[in-house]
Amino acid sequence: MPTHLTRKVAVPLAAVAMALTLAVGSSSATTRTSATSNARPSSIKVLRVALVAPSATNDLAFTESMYNALEALKVSQHLQISVSENEFVVADAANVIRQYASEGYNLILAHGSQYGSTVEALAPQFPKVSFAWGTAASTFGMKNIFAYEAASNEGGYVQGYMGAMLSKSHVVGVIGPIATGDAKLYVDGFVAGAKAEDKKITAHQVYTGSFSDDSLMATAAKTFVSDGADVLTGSSQSVVGAIGVAKADHLPWFGTQWTQAVLAPKNVVSSQLYNWKPTLIAMIKDIRAGKRGGATYVLKLGNGGEQIQFNPGYKLAKSIKAKGLALIKAIEHNKIKVPT
């Protein structure tokens, strides 16, 4: 770049700024279109809820489960919802959370464990706003922070147990993104379940090191299959390639976080679904009662936060399904303690 020219940039830059100001200023003040408000009885105050999520609201996984729960509750719980998706840059997410807080939203869902420290820093500045974050357990001892986490090891255990029953080769393969949060819990639960059914089973597990590298997940699945694995499972939004491997080799697949039967209607045995509705309803109830936080909610099989959805397209032996249902019952009633 020519150096002397750069000295002359000041004026043009100012011109741009002015042009921008004019363009913006001349437009009439616009209303923000974030509102998705509904017809509502006047007696109940509308709660303004914001969701800040690291992935897309159609990720077939973690974010989609939360987004759909919010949408489903919108009318019955009188919510006005605003969403910021794909906020995987932690610093940018922090700005967005801050912006929602300053606009007086009643509840801000910081839907990623990497947002926790941001919530911890912001909550004291906005005591009237409720923050919720997860998956995590800590409310940092603050009265306006909720925490929520998913005991995904429970469903993992049930599915691992069923997987071991299905396996003829006594080798199963489990794929995770990075070894943290509900993904790690699920992997550990699945392995524990498989070992509970069959002590000698080989339960291979791998973390690809990325939430978004489909190719690695698919390649890991292929390795498992080549080492004899005949049952596969995996967590995160990048499992589609791996499910493709299960499909190509006609192997059973167990899903988690969101219904994955759509991805392979003939291969998905069951999916562990996150149902955030009870947790959201509980939080909303707290907020309406004047309690802004301080509680940790855990999604479990026993409280309806997690469900095992069997895929009708997969012909699962009745005995295995019965065992799975029995395990769910047992876990619901605390008769089995799933290791974490």
Binding site: N58, N86, D227
Partner: protein
């Protein structure tokens, strides 16, 4: 370790490496053409992303994988016109304009994905095709001859590109444009036209690379390529601007990924070292280059726009 040295795991690991390397190979072969004529295209990753999205969207809407691949290659070609216009006609700084194209592709592909695709359903994937007779050879058959059509295409293009570069008049002109453009100009070769053509070929190949990657994964997501396009540019240097060398680099890179993943999967690399082990492909590439880079010379005017009278 015993798990790794079994027939099934070894063949599967190599087969996965070959499949993984195909998208690198497409992109790197295309980039080789451009660089031999003197043009660096750093926008490959962005073009791959746009093409991957086009492939995905077309497959989703039409269900036809041939159309999908054509759409991917087509978007590559369109981006080729843009790239050639910027790099050759407008004689822009190629490295920097490439970063611009990359950012453009990165942003736009995700923008379109989020806005145009409701539920991101997976698309059907290419099924492997066994090459008659060859696929029966023990081990070798399972490793190399039960791949998808795009994998075969990528590897078939290696001898084609070698032939074109070394044995045709067109190849001679490409090399002339990259080594001594003013001499080429004086003997009546249009440097601009040659470079336009290599950039178009290169970007179409980047489009095919995006399509191949997408069809391997079966779905699109934000930043699907994970820097594959940049790695492909690196592999051109690695391969010393020769298609065969580029192929070697691509396969080595794919192999490093597949072997590390295999070892992680089989517990040979413990979980605690999982992240560190994942650095292996990049580290191996850089170290190999340390050993070989001094022996090879890059095209003399690589990255420099040509103007008459220079």
């Amino acid at each position: 370790m015993a798990h790794f040295f079994t027939y099934a795991v070894l063949t599967s690991t190599v087969a996965a490496a070959i499949a993984l390397s195909s998208s690198f190979l497409f992109a790197a072969l295309g980039e080789t053409m451009g660089q031999r004529s003197g043009v660096i295209n750093l926008g490959v990753d962005g073009i791959m992303l746009l093409s991957a999205f086009a492939t995905y969207f077309t497959a989703l809407k039409t269900g036809d994988l041939l159309y999908a691949v054509l759409a991917g290659a087509g978007v590559g070609l369109v981006m080729g016109f843009v790239t050639a216009f910027i790099s050759v006609t407008l004689k822009a700084e190629q490295g920097i304009s490439g970063i611009g194209v990359y950012l453009f592709g990165l942003g736009l592909s995700d923008l379109l994905f989020l806005r145009l695709v409701g539920t991101p359903l997976p698309i059907s994937q290419l099924s492997p095709i066994g090459i008659p007779l060859l696929d029966r050879i023990p081990a070798v058959g399972a490793m190399f001859f039960r791949q998808t059509i795009l994998v075969y295409l990528a590897f078939l293009l290696v001898p084609v590109f070698t032939f074109v570069l070394n044995r045709t008049t067109y190849g001679l002109k490409i090399r002339a444009a990259g080594e001594n453009p003013s001499a080429a100009d004086t003997v009546g070769i249009s440097v601009a036209r040659i470079r336009w053509s290599t950039v178009l070929i290169g970007c179409t190949m980047a489009g095919l690379a995006g399509a191949a990657l997408l069809l391997y994964d079966g779905i699109f997501m934000e930043n699907l390529t994970q820097s594959e396009g940049f790695i492909a540019v690196a592999l051109v240097y690695f391969g010393a601007w020769r298609p065969l060398g580029v192929m070697g680099g691509s396969v080595l890179y794919g192999l490093a990924i597949a072997v590390v993943l295999s070892w992680k999967s089989l517990g040979i690399i413990p979980l605690s070292a999982s992240d560190l082990a994942a650095t292996a492909p990049a580290v191996i590439t850089v170290l190999t280059l340390l050993l070989v880079a001094r022996r090879f010379r890059q095209p003399a005017v690589l990255g420099k726009p040509y103007e008459r009278g220079d």
